[in-house]
Amino acid sequence: MQIYLPIAEVSVNAFLLLGLGGMVGVLSGMFGVGGGFLMTPLLFFIGIPPAVAVATEANQIVASSFSGVLAHFRRKTVDLRMGTVLLTGGLMGAALGVVVFNYLKSLGQVDLLVTLCYVVFLGVVGGLMFIESLNALRKSKKGTTAPPARRQRGWVHAMPFKMRFRTSGLYISVIPPMLVGLCVGVLSAIMGVGGGFIMVPAMIYLLGMPTKVVVGTSLFQIIFVTAFTTMLHATTNYTVDIVLAVLLLVGGVIGAQIGTVIGARMPAEQLRVLLAALVLVVCGKLALDLLLQPSELYSLGRSGGH
């Protein structure tokens, strides 16, 4: 069934969108990530204009994160205080990101920026995660467990403006979480992702937060940052396509619930290797697009009034 998207002004198959939403939803439920980093490139691929894809994906992430954070609230694994600090940075970052996005759109370099961001971040995060989880797998096969790493007391703890985060059991400066929030906010606006795949490692390795509160807290702040991004895109670029968003999120929220069930039945290390492989595949595909000569060297952009 073809459906005409009023803002994107393209006609796409509704079942294809539901299917994509569902598939990415299953993955996001399995791995506890928003899935934006997979969905946005897929939307480019099926012919949605990049500006619409990025803005609409932000709206869809609001839905999937909200669905996810409810479960974490029930389990009391959300650090509201840390979430609020991250959020403050995140909102500033998102505003900055939209400004950068619009500036580069006028230069015609927005596709390049988005693709470069994807390649760099997916490559780094995927690579690190892959190595780390392979090591963990090898160790668990040998049957020896590594001694628990000591909490680092580095530069993070030497900064001023200290604050006590009870749920996370931390007493650290507010500057690092603010900066993490800021970076993820910028990325969320530019890449149309929630930023969970960067936020989660940053919270664990940089801020030293306990793993059990990380996902819930990250989801909590992602809701607000992506909601803010959605509003910014909707009011400055008019690129949020509500019909596209509804189709994606219907598939997405159902898929996410199914994914959670699958994820709970799989061993954690294998799950992480799979996720890392997936991230690397997406990264490799995008990198190839940059490196190989495209079949069409020219591209058309709308200019002036539409």
């Binding site: 069934m1 073809q2 459906i3 005409y4 009023p6 803002i7 002004e9 393209v10 006609s11 709206n59 869809q60 609001v62 839905a63 999937s64 994160s65 909200f66 669905s67 996810g68 409810l70 479960a71 015609g108 370099q109 596709d111 390049l112 909601a227 959605t230 509003m231 909707a234 009011t235 008019y238 949020v240 509500i242 019909v243 968003a245 509804v246 999120l249 219907v250 929220v253 159902i254 996410a256 619930q257 697009d289 940059l290 490196l291 190989l292 000569q293 495209p294 069409e296 060297l297 020219y298 591209s299 058309l300 952009g301 709308r302 200019s303 002036g304 009034g305 539409h306």
Partner: protein, 255 residues
């Protein structure tokens, strides 16, 4: 009074201006409604040639039908390899390019329309695009205009279909123009040319109105006129869907 004078003047002069052969046109539809499940449209264009005198001898009458969507400026960008990756470098602003352009003819276009007439009436696809502003410092500025044609032809937005207008007895003609699903809104201009031995002897113009209707219209207008409410509505729907799915699955699992 002035208007009446003008009308009389017009009446006196018009017989002199009248062409010997004129188009009487019919369209299967003069408006295209873009609904939520819009999947392209086919418009039947048919007509007859009205004439007071017998059919002139000589080369037969040929018919060209050209349908053009609303025009807008287009920025064309070219990729080049810089530091090992392909990035957009040069860009050219094509002043006006129609969002949709379809030409149907009764015989190969170059045979029935001379180059000068093509230049005057801008019938062929290459001529329908106007790019005077192409900067001279960019090498191969013409490549950019060609790229617009090539890309839009691949997308099915531009097409030239020769021998698809059927002409009977040099009097009746008909053709159909297919419009793809990815249409832009606006007034589509349909032009019909009658030609003999390469020159245009009569032309007729009519418009087809392409509009979003119903929900599509409502959402589009809202996104432009009340962007804040539109954004909030998107968020409310997102949150409701997230909450709904989570609650529904919890209930399912508990039962």
């Amino acid at each position: 009074m002035l208007w009446r004078l003008f009308a009389i003047f017009w009446l006196c002069c018009s017989p002199a201006l009248a062409e010997e052969e004129q188009v009487v046109l019919g369209l299967s539809q003069d408006r295209v409604a873009i609904t939520a499940n819009f999947d392209g449209s086919e418009i039947l264009i048919f007509g007859a040639v009205k004439r007071e005198s017998p059919i002139p001898s000589g080369p037969p009458l040929e018919v060209i039908v050209a349908v053009a969507g609303p025009s807008s400026p287009v920025t064309v960008r070219r990729k080049e390899k810089k530091l090992g990756i392909w990035v957009n470098t040069d860009s050219v602003l094509v002043d006006l390019a129609p969002s949709f352009y379809a030409v149907a003819t009764s015989a190969p276009l170059t045979k029935i329309l001379s180059d000068t007439e093509d230049l005057r009436y801008r019938v062929s696809i290459e001529r329908a695009i106007r790019s005077v502003g192409a900067a001279m410092h960019i090498r191969g500025a013409q490549d950019f205009a060609d790229a617009v044609v090539r890309i839009r032809e691949d997308e099915g937005l531009y097409s030239i279909r020769e021998d698809t207008v059927a002409v009977d007895e040099q009097t009746l003609f008909r053709t159909s123009i297919e419009m793809p699903a990815d249409l832009t809104e606006g007034e589509y201009v349909a032009r019909i040319f009658l030609t003999r031995s390469g020159s245009v002897i009569s032309q007729f113009e009519t418009t087809i109105d392409v509009r979003k209707v119903g929900l599509e219209r409502f959402l589009f207008n809202m996104s432009r006129q009340q962007p804040v409410w539109y954004g909030l509505m998107s968020l409310v729907i997102a949150i409701a869907a997230g909450w709904g799915a989570s609650t529904a699955f919890r209930l399912l699992r508990e039962n």
